[in-house]
Each structure stands twice: as structure tokens, then as C-alpha cells.
Symmetry: C2
Subunit: 225 residues, 2 copies
Amino acid sequence: MRPPALLFDLDGTLVDSVYYHVLAWKEALDEAGIELPIWRIHRKIGMSGGLLVQALLRETSAKLNGETIEKLQRTHASAYQRFTRFIAPLPGARELLAHLTACRVPWAIATSGRLETAAVALSVLEVPHDVPVITRDAVPFAKPDPDIFLEAAHRLGADASEAVIGGDSVWDLLAARRARAIGVGLLSGGYGQEELERAGAYRVYEDPRDLLRHLDEIGVRAAAP
Amino acid sequence: MRPPALLFDLDGTLVDSVYYHVLAWKEALDEAGIELPIWRIHRKIGMSGGLLVQALLRETSAKLNGETIEKLQRTHASAYQRFTRFIAPLPGARELLAHLTACRVPWAIATSGRLETAAVALSVLEVPHDVPVITRDAVPFAKPDPDIFLEAAHRLGADASEAVIGGDSVWDLLAARRARAIGVGLLSGGYGQEELERAGAYRVYEDPRDLLRHLDEIGVRAAAP
């Protein structure tokens, strides 16, 4: 029996970038004259960017055309770029990935972001070049659709229904269920434990370090000492 | 029977400032060479500043003397000042306060912050000058000690045990229980609903607008239409 493949979300799961994404979206929305409280933006991070904008607009009853939505996404991306020097791995993230590689547990990264935005996070994590990285560019629909995770499993030669998906948002957990995978939540993106449990997390850990210590709880016989 | 007095926390409860406080603390800690993931800082916002630093340091096993802790607080305050132009009332906050005033329901503001930091929030909320505002400067211990709320009730000539306390953090709710008051949670600071319920919130509302619509649920016979 092979160990399950591990598919990781990126922002808030492996790198400490969620709060910067939140404020970059806040800036983009403000600039477009759309007033939204910050916590509502936080709760939508991890969705596809287009979906996020649509979902937020529904709460303000604002209507925007495709061109303006595209512009919002560009403004977010450039506002986020200003924060990139602050982006750091979450505690234990590099150790977790290195440990999995050393133990020959297959793993991949699956993010709703675009490669352009994800590049900094991948670089600070020192992700090896042969690890599959699936971004929003590679699939027709980002999370909470399961496509990104299905493609990540496919690239590993694994079946998503035998994989474990680690993510910090309810969108990861919904996509995990739709991919028939086991979802595991991480608190490091700022959601509460019960929010993640209610969304179907089989277990919730604080951060990658905590997950590394408990790998045996998710069926990987290679927990760190 | 008089209506219960309402005692409000400020950041995340009436003004959309929690995420800026979080990043201002992140900047101060980084500058002091203390690496902490942002979600852990978020979960400590609303505590007294000194307690917050102590609690965060415990998680890193770092040890700092009183002088360095004082410096951290100054760096946070000056980093936060740079965000002040973004500080806005949360949806419904001004309407809620004006409605209470019009209905002669006594209310006050009770925050763990210092007056210097709270001034911008009070200004965007247009808090009338005769409303009691209790800051950390006025009491020996900030939240989660109950002193700030007890003092706020006292200034209104009310008994804290007959008051309702509205706050966005578990520290507000703990302080509310210690003051023998009824605690009501607001999601607008970014905590999850269940986190606030577990900390003892009698009800949880999305934001001040949602609370305004449901005032009758907390014993104020003056809900907005």
C-alpha cells in the first residue's frame, strides 16, 4: 500500500500571505469605489479571483462588467506585489515538504492563484523544480471547483480519492470533498477551527509544523519525531 | 425597567481597523527580530498591548525586558498611524450609535487601546463628546480583565451586571463574563462564529448593522425597522 499523496494549498497553508492578499483586495476594491469590510474579504480568500469578486459584489449589490472585474484583479495583483518582500514560509513548511520528499511521499501544490502571483511563495518555500505546481492558469475553474486538486493528483499519477488535501480555507475543504479526497485544515490562514471542521476537515492543525508532527494521524507512516 | 446599557469595544466592533493593527504588530515584531505568523497575532488583538506581547513571546520562547516591550508598543503605534487614512466605520456603526442615542439607550465605548491610537476611530465614528470613552489609560488592567467595562458602566451610572457588551474578540467576551455582563459577538473583527460562541457570546451578529436590526434579541426594545 502506497502512502496517500499530499496536495497542498499555498497561501495561508504553506506561506504567510493571506493577510497581504486581503489588504491587496481591499485596496483594489476601494479604488473601484466598492466599500467592503475587511473580514468579508478575508473569508473569500482562496476562491478563484473572478469568483471572489462576484461573491463580494453580491454582498454590496454592485454590478460590474467583465472589463472592470478584470481591472480589479490586475489592481489586486499589483498591490500584492508591493507586499512580496514580507512573504515568508509558515512555521515548519519547508521542513514538512523536505520530510515528505525524503520519505518518498508524493506531494504537489495546488493554488487558486495565478503562477505570476504564486512565484514568490514558491521561491521562499524552495519548492524543487520536479514538484507539480498547479495554478489557476492550468485549469478552467479554480477552487471551490475540484479541478486544481484533480489535476495535481493526476500529475503525481495518483487518484484524488486516495489523496489528502491540506488547506487553510473552507474553499479548499469544499474542493477536497468534491474531489473525493480527505481534507485537512490549517489554522494558519486565520479561519477558526470550527469553521474548518464544519466545512468537512477530517483534522485541523495549527500550521505546517503541527501537521508534520501528526502525519501518522492522516495515514502517512512517516511522522517527524 | 430601564433598557440595558450597551458597552462597545472599538476595533473590529465599530471600526474596520483590526487587520491594520495586525500588520502594525507584525511590522513591530519583525523589526525586533521576532518571527511570528500573522494569524497568531490576529488572535491576540483586543488584549492589552503589554499582555499581547507577553503572550506572543511565550509562543516563540523569546525573552524581552520591559524596555524592549515598551519599544515594541511604540513601533506598533507608529506603524498603525500610517494606516489611519484607511480606517473607516464598520457597516451600520454610525447608524447603530445614533439610533441608541435617539432611543435614549445609554452606551459607552471601552477599548484596550490607548486614547492616542483610538482617536482616529472615535473621529470617523463621530462619537458625541458626552459619551464615555474608556481607554487603557484610565484603568490599571486592560482586557481580558473586566476593569475597562466596569468603569464604562460606572460612568453611565449603570451596573455592569445589567449591561450588554458588544465585541469582536474572545477577550471582550471573557472580560464580559468577568464583569457579569451579557456578551454579544460580532464577526467583523475576523473571528469565526463558533470561536465567539465558545467564549460565551449569547448571540453573534455579522456587524453593527446586523446588531442594529436585532436589538430586540438582546433586550433593547428599540430595534431598527
